[in-house]
Point group: D3
Chain length 115, copies 6
């Protein structure tokens, strides 16, 4: 199932390159700012990535969920922690979040263990 992860990452970076090649300054700066928002600060990176994950889940954006799941795994979040994030997303956002939780659960299993 590793190809699920590769396919996501490959399309993501090809299209980001296409977008950035058009030189729209506002988009470039926003994409840059996006990385800053998750940098170590008063809150640790792992917490921030879980904040990004829960926000993506209640807004029901599968690709954003995948991205933050990947970051969560790399920052050492455990399955138990990630499912507690899923639980909050499902309670706040309602059962409409369930189909996205299914795809999130599948992707989480497909992610390689942290190197």
């Amino acid at each position: 199932m590793a190809s699920l992860v590769e396919e996501f990452n490959d399309y993501r970076s090809r299209m980001n390159d296409l977008i950035l090649s058009k030189d729209n300054l506002v988009i470039k700066r926003l994409y840059n700012l996006d990385s800053n928002a998750y940098a170590e600060g008063a809150l640790p990176v792992k917490t921030k990535e879980m904040l990004g994950l829960v926000a993506s889940m209640v807004l029901r954006c599968d690709d954003c969920i995948k991205y933050h799941l990947e970051q969560c795994k790399q920052k050492g979040a455990t399955t138990e922690e990630v499912y507690e994030v899923f639980a909050i997303a499902n309670i706040v956002g309602g059962t409409i979040v369930i189909p996205h939780t299914r795809r999130a659960a599948e992707f989480w299993e497909a992610l390689p263990e942290k190197a």
Copy 2:
């Protein structure tokens, strides 16, 4: 076209099993509560399933729409009734609901007649 329905149901139950296998109590209870919400009460089950359908349409969740369409058909909703639900969803939620109505219309045709 029956495979559209089977594929949906198969993925749905495999992933629900995966999620529930992680033993997160909040998620388990929420999924359980979800079934209770559509049980016979002051309102009949068919009406409740149509309420679930229209809510899923305006929130634009294709998988939720499919699930409730399946339930509506099993509870005896007619094509004319279901399209009246579609109409309200399109009026309340706007033309942004149209692409989901397309996929709903396709799925409705693919559903087997009530046994």
Copy 3:
């Protein structure tokens, strides 16, 4: 608490008049079509108003909720039925719907009994 209802209805009709006075044809037709969507059809008016109510709740539009609550009461929906609609809205839409349910509960009490 009757003034809660009157205030809502008064502002609603004054502003609708203002909007319609500008003679935008698309808006005029859409507002007209809106009424048609809830007319008696394969589904009874009361069911359609409950469909409008649940859609308004999951989309979290207080004014739309108030409007459909008023219609529901006029069409004879009972408190028990209306709370079953609330339950589905809260399950599908999540706890984010709770604050709107509070205002809905307050407005429902304020509505005069059906003449």
Copy 4:
């Protein structure tokens, strides 16, 4: 990549035909009204299509985005203009719009030049 466009248009018109064949009057009128909203008026058609595009992007409806991109290209919108619409959609709607911007960027490249 032209098949991305053809596939979208083909599915769209087949399903619209299916929906309209059910003769729900409210849906028929709404779909008709939808076309009127983008007709030449105080604002030119190209501007209206860009308004439809930005609305579709912040509401994150890929099919709606594709439809309006196609209309924008036919009305002569340039890549630079379309990316300024993308920028506003990303700023207003946040990074949650990025995955939809990726698919929009891909579709924009796939669209044939205006005849």
Copy 5:
């Protein structure tokens, strides 16, 4: 009715000052970037403000709507043009946008003519 406008602007700038006083760099840069997105470019400022308006309407954010209405008036948008934006927002976003259109219509009347 001028106080509707003044009250909005006053609260808006007092709270922006409070937020910016906390020196969160990401927020500061995002607020700065926000202004850039509406600057003259391939598209004129008036068009960009109408794009911001329609996006705010379909996302149903009253304060954002007010802000862009004010900008639209200052950039010379006419009542007829603004109502064509309202029409597209209502068609795309559905009748759920109507209550926000009411408040938008009221605010538009309250805005002073362009100096």
Copy 6:
């Protein structure tokens, strides 16, 4: 400004009482489950409350934001931490979140220090 907090809490508990007095079992269980979701687990309570806060912000629910801000303060979250949550909410959800951030900033100042 303490009355901002008291008024919110008072209305919230009066209306919750009204809703629960109607004995709808699904609503009762959901409200109960809501508390469980934020209980100490693999993740600490403070983190969970920040997850609830960011979810409420991107879904743009002022009352939910106020509730979680109050919980965050009681669990010892600092102003700097809370503004990092605000930053992520604004980046993920876009400038549409700004008006809610303004009301959040005002409420945060109004909250009494943790006892």
